[in-house]
């Protein structure tokens, strides 16, 4: 009796391993929830954004309400009213309210700067990396020129010559940050040229544009998002530095950096004037950095498994050093 060992079509169900079908949105949510620290950071950032959006509407009046009787009151006491829980500034304005209003200003400088520099820098970088040749050389030299100026110094000069309006600040910060995205995008794009699936796309006649859009961008995007999140922190601090130096946000507008600057002379007597805005900057940047680290893992299909188990069990399976055992 002979048995047939003929070709048996492979049934998809027997061999496919991996995640069960689930909707995309809930999958991202699940990935976030699994990393508790990142989830906390996301909550914090969410609160910050919420504050920036609705805060000024609620407490705007309080932020400008001058009350000289209550000037420089210490925080953490309800003696002077709920609004002054974080103390008051020399003009008696509520610190809490000012922090909230400053949040919007700070973010409204940092976010547009990051978005503009990310889009412009990445686009040029991917285009240069795809074509190589003279386009790449020109783009890299331009990036080198921009990078060779100390960015803060450049900002100081530009803002001194032109007026330090919010729009100018955004523009100058965006320009100085373009090289970071350009170089990252170019490097990844250039490396992808040698990948087989790009060659495959060329064989069916895909245009440069569609290859960049379909193959280069999705691969480059996670890295760019991480860079953008870290850059967000840098831009926030840069804006704070500029305001600290007096050429950033001008009073009566306030930003966290400006608040730190204004509290400088009172450091010994009214420490809270600089402390709370500084703390706000730290909390926002640290949360953004943590979320960036999470995003880098979550958007990489190869690394995503790290977020699919609770953190406690993870440590048993990460590699440590090998010894001849």
């Amino acid at each position: 009796m002979s048995t047939q060992l003929d070709l048996v079509p492979v049934k998809p169900t027997t061999a496919i391993v991996g995640e069960p079908e689930s909707r995309k949105r809930s999958r991202w949510f699940q990935l976030l929830v699994n990393d508790r620290v990142a989830a906390a950071a996301a909550v914090v950032l969410g609160l910050v954004f919420l504050t920036a959006i609705v805060g000024p509407m609620l407490v705007g009046g309080l932020a400008t309400h001058i009350d000289l009787d209550n000037s420089n009151q210490a925080p953490f006491t309800l003696a002077h009213g709920l609004a002054n829980i974080l103390g008051t500034d020399p003009l008696g304005r509520s610190m809490l309210a000012r922090l909230i209003v400053a949040c919007r200003t700070t973010l409204s400088v940092a976010i547009p700067a990051v978005v503009i520099s990310a889009i412009v820098g990445s686009a040029i970088g991917m285009w240069a990396g795809y074509y190589r040749g003279w386009r790449e050389t020109v783009a890299m030299r331009v990036a080198d020129v921009i990078m060779s100026f100390p960015s803060l110094l450049l900002a100081v000069v530009v803002l001194y010559v032109f007026s330090p309006s919010a729009a100018n600040i955004v523009l100058v910060l965006a320009i100085t940050r373009i090289p970071v995205y350009l170089r990252t995008a170019r490097a990844e794009s250039a490396e992808l040229q040698s990948r087989l699936f790009v060659d495959a796309a060329r064989t069916f006649g895909a245009s440069a544009q569609s290859i960049i859009w379909r193959h280069v961008l999705p691969v480059v995007l996670p890295t760019l998002l991480t860079v953008a999140t870290l850059d967000f922190c840098y831009v926030m601090l840069a804006e704070s530095s500029l305001s600290f130096l007096g050429i950033g946000i001008q009073p009566p507008d306030i930003s966290w950096g400006l608040m730190v600057s204004q509290g400088r002379t009172y450091l010994h007597t009214a420490w809270w004037l600089s402390f709370f805005p500084g703390l706000a900057i730290v909390i926002t940047t640290v949360s953004a950095t943590i979320l960036a680290a999470w995003a880098r893992i979550a958007t990489d299909p190869g690394q995503r498994w790290r977020l699919t188990v609770p953190q406690k069990r993870l440590s048993r399976f990460t590699k440590t050093t090998k010894a001849l055992s």
């Binding site: 495959a200 064989t203 069916f204 895909a206």
Partner: protein
């Protein structure tokens, strides 16, 4: 006698290497491919088979020589005509892990060629149906369309690659080591699939492989490449049983076979493949050839035709015509 689908004559391609040196990848390649036929391309690393594959796919432009595809020279086409022409030649890649974009689902990967050829399947429904049809054709179920490459095994990924190559209904598929990265049992499945598809759809294959037993099984004709030239060309059985060129004989001898215990003395070549940057003068193989004489260093060897088998040629001053000994057991 099938009409020639693909005719290549005297194809040459060099690359500029840093340091002002020229790397001659293809040095006068001529070959033919008929409809529904499989041409096996055999050679070791550095022989130029990848460059030849890329040139046939119009990913590289040759320096000189002619390519006639169904009578048309594809390198003279531009724009829309070139795009339409690209549909006729497709490729299955060697590495099933690197040739699929891990961020696209299997269905997207297979449908990707149509994005550049929008006129083929206009509605989404048509495209989905065609994707399902292709997945069935290669032995994966329609459900596979939503899964990502990392959820498949190596053999299944290669099937996705084959489905993608079939998406544009090509006339020729260039298979670059399609089964080298797969396990033995899976190799057999994929080879059977390629065979079936050829029977059903009448596709021609250019099958590049270093595995001689696989080539023997799939190819009608075999061309052996060495340092940018085709040094032997002929019907498969002829080339395997009665190799005319010493290099082919050495290749056959070096490749292990299951009944190898019965083989005769193995030919061990001296040294390694010379660098393509500095190929030997005259016959390229002379530095390792045991039959080399002075004439081999001075003149390029002519194309010697095997008197007994039509279409079997080898470039050698001293071809193994007289010996005809079976260096590989029958």
């Amino acid at each position: 006698m099938s009409e020639k689908l693909l005719e290549v004559r005297d194809l040459r391609k060099s690359f500029q290497v840093p340091g002002k040196k020229k790397l001659c990848a293809l040095d006068g390649i001529s070959l033919d491919l008929g409809r529904g036929e499989t041409l096996g391309l055999v050679g070791e690393s550095g022989c130029g088979k990848s460059t030849l594959a890329r040139t046939l796919l119009m990913l590289e432009r040759p320096d000189s020589g002619t390519v006639r595809f169904d009578g048309i020279d594809p390198f003279s086409l531009r724009g829309k005509e070139l795009l339409a022409f690209r549909r006729r030649v497709q490729m299955v890649f060697q590495d099933p892990y690197a040739s699929l974009n891990a961020r696209m689902s299997a269905g997207d990967i297979i449908a990707e060629p149509w994005r550049s050829h929008k006129s083929l399947y206009k509605s989404r429904r048509d495209r989905d149906m065609r994707v399902r049809g292709l997945l069935d054709l290669v032995g994966l179920g329609a459900k596979a369309a939503d899964k990502y490459p990392q959820e498949f095994s190596g053999g299944q990924r290669q099937r996705i690659g084959i489905a993608r190559a079939l998406a544009l209904d090509p006339d020729v598929i260039i298979c670059d080591e399609p089964v080298s990265a797969l396990d033995l049992s899976v190799q057999a499945q994929v080879l059977n699939l390629l065979n079936d598809l050829q029977g059903q759809l009448g596709i021609s294959y250019v099958f590049i492989s270093h595995d001689l037993s696989v080539v023997r099984h799939v190819a009608d004709r075999v061309a052996v490449m060495y340092l940018g030239r085709i040094i032997e060309n002929g019907p498969t059985e002829a080339v395997f049983e009665r190799p005319n060129h010493p290099y082919t004989a050495a290749l056959m001898s070096a490749a292990p076979t299951l009944d190898g215990a019965q083989r005769k003395e193995r030919i061990l070549l001296k040294g390694e493949v010379p660098s393509p940057l500095n190929p030997p003068s005259g016959c390229r193989f002379r530095t390792r050839c045991w039959k080399a004489t002075e004439v081999c260093a001075t003149t390029t060897p002519p194309s010697a035709v095997d008197p007994e088998i039509a279409g079997h040629t080898a470039e050698c001053h001293h071809p193994l015509l007289q010996e005809g000994s079976a260096l590989v057991p029958a």
